[in-house]
């Protein structure tokens, strides 16, 4: 046996037995999936069909899935009725910065909590996790007054500051790093590597999956965030998509056709991000949950 060939260390794996037993027939599984997919997808089908209707027809019964005169004008009007292009740009900008900052600071802090020993470690971590239990409405007013004192209201910088330092990100990254054996870091330390080096050259490459997870989570949360931007961004040129959606509901009318069309448009970037990160995705949360 040449030393350069790849061989498993133990005995030959059984090759004749199928890899996993299949207790359920495939047809049943597929039927289950189609049923589940319909449950998941029908609301979106309705959304799509509503986006092509006039307001007065959106809520007509029985539900007409394919509108007789698809009103493509809706997709044109959403760009002119409200500055949707500007809102999308604002949302994208905020989401990008919040996600980037969250990734950076959370992985730093997660490494510290999982691999380093220091004073007050448990108390601090408990503090982080405990704040997850507080609903935002409770401390919103003191926070708003404080931010106004810093002159950070009505600025994107303010929103970024509020969202970029999240407790959930730290929690998630800590869970991931726990699944990486400590001995790895020990070995590196003994080799004389600094902690920063360990983080950059061992932890970071191994945490691609977790970073993808956190990216998706941060992206979706910031993209769909409504209350924060509504309170802090009152100037129209700073507003985001979610605020824009609600601008279609005026005091005396509700343009549901336009709301649906704008929602469909707002959904696309999120899906693109999700699809592109999908392959990392499954593995990433694996390690987060396992060594919990």
């Amino acid at each position: 046996m040449s030393a350069r060939t790849m061989r498993p260390r133990t005995a030959q794996p059984p090759t004749l037995r199928p890899r996993t037993a299949r207790p359920f027939p495939n047809a049943l599984t597929y039927a289950f999936f189609i049923a589940v997919s319909m449950v998941m997808f029908i609301p979106f089908a309705w959304m799509l069909s509503a986006s092509l209707k006039l307001d007065q027809d959106v809520f007509s019964f029985p539900v007409r899935w394919i509108p007789e005169n698809p009103r493509w004008l809706n997709y044109q009007e959403i760009w002119t009725t409200i500055p949707l292009g500007l809102f999308i740009f604002n949302s994208a900008k905020l989401t990008f910065f919040v996600t980037a900052l969250q990734l950076l600071t959370s992985s730093f802090a997660g490494y510290a909590f999982s691999k380093l020993q220091f004073k007050f470690k448990n108390a601090l971590f408990l503090g982080y996790v405990a704040t997850l239990a507080m609903p935002w409405h409770v401390y919103m007013v003191p926070q708003f007054i404080m931010m106004r004192g810093f002159h950070l209201n009505n600025s994107h910088l303010g929103i970024v500051c509020l969202q970029a330092f999240s407790a959930f990100g730290v929690f998630l990254m800590r869970q991931l790093y726990q699944s990486i054996p400590d001995e790895l870091c020990e070995a590196a330390r003994i080799d004389g590597m600094s902690e920063y080096g360990i983080w950059a050259r061992i932890m970071l490459p191994l945490s691609k999956p977790a970073l993808s997870t956190l990216t998706i989570f941060a992206f979706v949360t910031t993209w769909n965030d409504f209350l924060g931007p509504m309170i802090y961004l009152t100037k129209t040129n700073l507003k985001t998509i979610q605020i824009g959606l609600r601008m279609f509901i005026t005091q005396y009318s509700s343009e549901y056709g336009l709301i649906m069309a704008a929602s469909v448009v707002a959904l696309i970037p999120v899906l693109i991000v999700f699809l592109s990160l999908q392959r990392f995705f499954v593995q990433g949360i694996a390690t987060a949950g396992l060594k919990g």
Partner: protein, 300 residues
């Protein structure tokens, strides 16, 4: 050989340096977190003992807010509703997402497609999705009731307009919306289970259900625990779904704690009392989380 006190000096210096390095890692997140989030939260805790409407002077009222809490019917209604909501949503979400994950772990054509579809509801904007949900569950003309009627069900549920069914409607909505996210967490957990275990069980003659019970579930315990904690915390903080679908109605059948907090804080502008309610909520969630931790420790 170093003298004893020189050695402890060295040890202490090392420890200080170690702490400093650790804090330097923590600093970016901790500083921002402390200033922008922790500060206001601590102030909100203090607010529970004060009376303030956001603009006028703050007055110290000690335990008055808590005394008022005990007399407040709406608080207990909200508490009960929140617990009911959690009791319904947590097991349902876990079961549904686990089932989905197990099915989506098999080798299938279009597996990625199904996974993406399951994730759709989680990424969609709440405004649009809630409107759609209400449409579909419309008590007199929505597709769901039409289907139930066609199947011969007589006493059609009133869904969001019926005080007995409103909470169920919201629970179903939450499960549907969040199922995809937890499904993926379970999927990942499933990937970490060694197939050898299954093969060994097959050799021993176990059927599918026994395998699930004796291998999958125990191996998934840490993942399940993580999911349990996250869902529980989110359930007790629920507000957006209730606001979008039922607005705490009909009557007070879907009034939950955070909704009551919102009304107290932004309709009556009684920020001190709102903080007192929030503290009660916080203590409740903390207690439940601690219990969950203890239970997990005793099992592990």
């Amino acid at each position: 050989m170093l003298a004893t006190n020189q050695r402890t000096d060295l040890a202490r210096r090392k420890e200080v340096r170690r702490n400093l390095v650790a804090y330097s890692f923590l600093a970016p997140n901790l500083l921002g977190f402390a200033v922008f989030t922790l500060g206001p939260i601590l102030f909100a805790f203090v607010l529970a003992f004060l009376s303030w409407d956001g603009s006028n002077i703050i007055t110290f009222v000690a335990l008055d807010n808590f005394r008022r809490l005990i007399d407040d019917d709406r608080f207990f209604t909200a508490l009960l509703n929140t617990v009911l909501y959690a009791a319904g949503t947590v097991p349902l979400t876990m079961v549904c997402s686990l089932t989905l994950a197990i099915f989506l772990n098999r080798k299938l054509h279009g597996r990625n497609f199904f996974r993406t579809i399951s994730f759709f509801p989680y990424v969609a904007s709440l405004v649009a999705v809630a409107i759609v949900w209400n449409m579909i569950f419309n008590p007199s003309k929505g597709p769901v009731n039409m289907l139930l009627g066609a199947l011969g069900v007589h006493d059609l549920p009133g869904w969001a307009a019926d005080k007995d069914w409103a909470m169920i409607t919201v629970i179903l909505f939450s499960v549907w919306k969040n199922m995809g996210y937890y499904m993926i967490i379970y999927l990942a957990g499933l990937q970490g289970i060694s197939p050898e275990l299954y093969e060994a069980a097959s050799l021993d003659g176990c059927n599918g259900w026994a395998k699930f019970r004796r291998i999958t579930l125990p191996q998934l315990a840490p993942t399940s625990f993580f999911v349990l904690i996250m869902i529980t915390i989110q359930c007790f903080k629920v507000y957006d779904q209730i606001y979008m679908i039922t607005q705490a109605g009909p009557g007070t059948s879907t009034l939950v704690l955070v909704y009551h907090i919102y009304n107290t804080a932004f309709v009556s502008w009684n920020l001190g009392y709102a903080s007192a309610i929030a503290m009660a909520l916080f203590i409740l969630v903390l207690a439940i989380t601690v219990i969950q931790f203890r239970v997990e420790k005793s099992f592990a």
